[in-house]
Subunit: 262 residues, 2 copies
Amino acid sequence: MGKIQDIKIVLLGAGNLATSLGIALQQAGFNVLQVYSRTQMAAETLAARLGATATHGLESLSADADVYLLALKDDALASVLPQVCRLNPHAVYAHTAGSVPMNVFEGLAKNYGVFYPLQTFSKQKPMDFASIPCLIEGANEFSEDVLLQIARALSHDVRLTTSADRRVVHLAAVFGCNFVNLCYSLANETLKRRGLDFELLLPLIDETAAKVHRLSPKEAQTGPAVRMDKAVMERQMSLIDDAEERRLYELMSEMIHKLANT
Amino acid sequence: MGKIQDIKIVLLGAGNLATSLGIALQQAGFNVLQVYSRTQMAAETLAARLGATATHGLESLSADADVYLLALKDDALASVLPQVCRLNPHAVYAHTAGSVPMNVFEGLAKNYGVFYPLQTFSKQKPMDFASIPCLIEGANEFSEDVLLQIARALSHDVRLTTSADRRVVHLAAVFGCNFVNLCYSLANETLKRRGLDFELLLPLIDETAAKVHRLSPKEAQTGPAVRMDKAVMERQMSLIDDAEERRLYELMSEMIHKLANT
């Protein structure tokens, strides 16, 4: 592809991921031409940070880019693909979704692929891309090379990954991030109901995450469910009013006990 | 109580918590006289690190200590209490359990309380106690003062907490640590089945924990369940063979969606 500053990129999306990705691209020296978002305000906010133009109309998308990165919600992605892929027959088109197979581009573009950064993003704090695993897939050698070049300019953990493997990684990410965060929420609600501070739990939360850097999660498991300490578990259940939460407590306790004994 | 080096402590237990606690006590300058464990080997291993004597017999426990710290499993605790509390009528007795009320000592000792360090412990890596919240409860002013003095010598986050509040904190800790770790396990199993590395998820796991330092867990929540993205959720469910794991996926997804909309 040549030099980084010669690679022109149009970024579709202005959400959490698009914001972090756009900032990382710009900092790495890529030429981000334009930001698209369904809402003009969101497009402008991100475009201003990147020195790019903003648009909320697909018909105003630049046809001049070498790469179109589609960091959109899965349902929005499907609806914009046909129009976007018509812009430039030589460009590379890539989406950033964990569970969308690469072949959504089939028949719509010649050069395409996937650029999936495995991280949870928030707009408030743009993530440093350097340590984010970037899972790359390309429909042909050219697409793969372009996407690898971009990924390697942002991150030192770049992996070629098939759609089938990426889907599994995305499921693991739902367990390791979204479901973990639900547990944080339930801890927070439990404390709040009694006027206690969530911040009390932060050292425990941090150590629980740190522990699985040096032990397998199975080795790291502690708590009443491992040893099926019925007395503690029943005392804890009696503190839970919500029926769903009780079902969750029982189900997770059973699963912890089973996993500990396999 | 006087100077730290004059406070003589007997430590009952040689497990994960007892090991970290013993090392922290010794480093803070306390005089750890003796370590008790049901197995002589475990008692000796920890005692050697602390320059203390070791015993596996309750009848050989020293009666010379000012403080007896019982860092035992909940069921072991109940069975040793009567004998231990008879040793020295002037001493302070404290257990370290989240869900055991202080009044288990009632009628057995005059001076007693609870010393609950809110953390997950492993023997491999003794925890630095400085940032561990220590929840203290005392049956009388003397007991409270002694336990506060010890806690403050180890940690800069010491809080007087009732048995009722501690029980709630312990439940929150099960959500925020034990159940979180189960999610890590399920992520690990998901990846392993396809020959993928758990280490791929560590940046995501770390950021998920880091995020709730600056956002509430509710604000931090991302993923397909927040927006009830049925297409992604069904694609993910189709990857799960285990019936319990599917139930968990459904239940947690529903709960995430509900919490996001309250």
